[in-house]
Symmetry: C2
Subunit: 139 residues, 2 copies
DNA sequence: TCCGGATATTAGACAAAGTCCAGATTGCCG
DNA sequence: CGGCAATCTGGACTTTGTCTAATATCCGGA
């Protein structure tokens, strides 16, 4: 698989392929997430998108991230009680969270095995399994 | 093992055994959590403790829950982006979260096996591993 | 019993994340 | 160009949680 280069132009196609109308703001927000391949909070997205001069409102940032989420373009990571992170990596994977620094990184799911989970009630479907390894700097 | 009955009187001993000075407010808050054995948010604790007549301030509820956390009396569960849950069950276990209703329940860790996690960098210690199964009502 | 310091509680101001709304802008089609 | 739907916007608002300075409670020693 060749390495993808996330240009703004590519973003339009990515958005369309997820049934999202590619507007200027949406392209910028997608570009912020995908070009970095990092976990970003709404605030961070906002800051990145508005570095040069203010272009995108807070409402649009939140609306757009929610839209991306609904359309399956990004994933939500809930590890920090004070803010949500948005993850451009939607393939199944886990997370390593450094509680001191707030640094969040991916753990490849390939070799991780979770077994022995009890069966779900019939009327329930699994939406996802989140595995978070919380670590701290050694004293 | 006999079933523990969480009376207010027992709470004082429990607090002392965790090196917490048992004050009236602390006993009430511990009692709210331990007598129910449920995951409660700060708001819910506040409501429970102040049902009859207002007795405990918001600041004290937050201060006390943080103290309980530091002293290892309760555990924090971060699954809902909008609020933290406090868990009187500190034995290792996992969680089942119903995204629609917000209902949070325990998964016994006994039979769950997690294998294949990559080794940590030398200067890091695991503080905990959170496994959250997110489920949704079937359509 | 009275005093003084340490510990705990409090009201309410404050901060940060996120939601909501009503009015503007944009893009598109006839 | 004119109309309509979709999008974006500033800013008010809500909720969760933190902070602070004043008060209250507790406790050990004189
Ligand atoms: Mn731009
Ligand atoms: Mn009482
Ligand atoms: Zn990730
Ligand atoms: Zn639990």
């Amino acid at each position: 698989m060749t390495r993808m280069h996330y240009t703004r132009d590519n973003m339009a196609g990515l958005l369309r392929s997820h049934d999202i109308n590619p507007t200027h703001q949406r392209i910028e927000i997608a570009h912020a997430l995908f070009s970095r391949q990092e976990h970003l909070s709404a605030d961070q997205v906002m800051a990145i998108v508005n570095t040069r001069h203010s272009e995108t409102s807070k409402a649009t940032v939140y609306n757009t991230l929610k839209l991306f989420l609904e359309k399956g373009l990004v994933r939500e990571v809930i590890v920090d009680p004070s803010k949500v992170f948005f993850d451009p990596n939607t393939s199944p994977h886990h997370h390593l969270y450094e509680v001191d620094s707030g640094k969040l990184s991916d753990i490849d799911a390939e070799h991780v095995q979770i077994s022995g989970l009890p069966p779900l009630p019939d009327n329930m479907v699994t939406e996802g399994i989140d595995l978070i390894v919380r670590v701290r700097r050694k004293a």
